[in-house]
Symmetry: C2
Amino acid sequence: MVAKIKLGVLSSTRGTDMQAIIDEIKAGRLDASIEVVISNRKDAYALERARRHGIEAVFIEPGDKSREEFDREVMKILKEKNIDLILLIAYMRIIGPEFVSEYKNKIMNVHPSLLPAFGGGIDKGVHRAVLNHGVKITGCTIHFVDETVDGGPIVVQKAVSIGEDETVDSLKEKVQNAEKEGIIEAIKLFQEGRLRVNGRRVRILSDENTGHSSGG
Amino acid sequence: MVAKIKLGVLSSTRGTDMQAIIDEIKAGRLDASIEVVISNRKDAYALERARRHGIEAVFIEPGDKSREEFDREVMKILKEKNIDLILLIAYMRIIGPEFVSEYKNKIMNVHPSLLPAFGGGIDKGVHRAVLNHGVKITGCTIHFVDETVDGGPIVVQKAVSIGEDETVDSLKEKVQNAEKEGIIEAIKLFQEGRLRVNGRRVRILSDENTGHSSGG
């Protein structure tokens, strides 16, 4: 048995991938709880989505706060809630070094491409850039967050084929489905203690090597 | 019926992918002939491989020839042989603008990664770079050659998953298998007249839209 884990979500937009986590928990396939959803945008649908599922939703006003001040407010909440793993789902802010170091290898970001392709701060227009470049395969990446933008150690990637009549919207939908699958996989690997970060590489241990018993 | 096409191969090394083309032709699944294999390296095994299969093998001494002089010698041979499609298989030379323009959208390069990731002249160490970066998915790209390095319009890509105990050698073998599959696919699409280049994007027409009759 692996222990139940407490998740915290940071999102600036709809938090669509979060729905997959909620569904997985409700279906009894993931022994976790989303303790809090935090956003830097008051009207982010991720907050509304959280409330609808009885999850605490917190808006933090960025105002003229420095990155450090903002991050500390976020961390204060995460600490209070004893969060084990933080998920960035379309979170449109850079996380400062203090936050990164405090939660080293405990923050995962979901990026809508196969990094290192189409990374580096083009989050909003990734699918457009992918289509303009004419690639035939894209996908998604779930990676630990470090000091770089989209550069942290990669936990899970999923490939997505691009069709002949693909549009930004149709591609976004396909990649989001891959993201949902990938993020659930990444959470479970984290929960089972199967991730070992070595420099840029994340080794995934087999079930037998984790020290968890798999039975009840 | 599509017409038989004449292929020319440029290679600086073993030309491993060429074997897949030879095999496909011998098996009667590809109506094509490799008319000539050209190398800038006298000891390239691609030349030996060609001779063993009764294919003309030509070494062109680079010496102190300018890129243009070298390219013209290559083009002279390709012209004499009425080559329809040129394949660069681990060809370690940049092709000049005159050559590119003379054979616009008739030269394909095989690259051992999912471009634009791990492109741009690191051909020799691509798999090492991929492993060092810790990506979980890589692959291969077959693209038309333009004036940029590894930047031309993409015809076919194939994804390859990276295992936990992957080495440069094991990865190379997996990617080469994907390359072989991809290059055969790309040659057939070219032969069937199904490729339409529009800026950076290559559209692949469905069978019905090519004007070829599919019967005998």
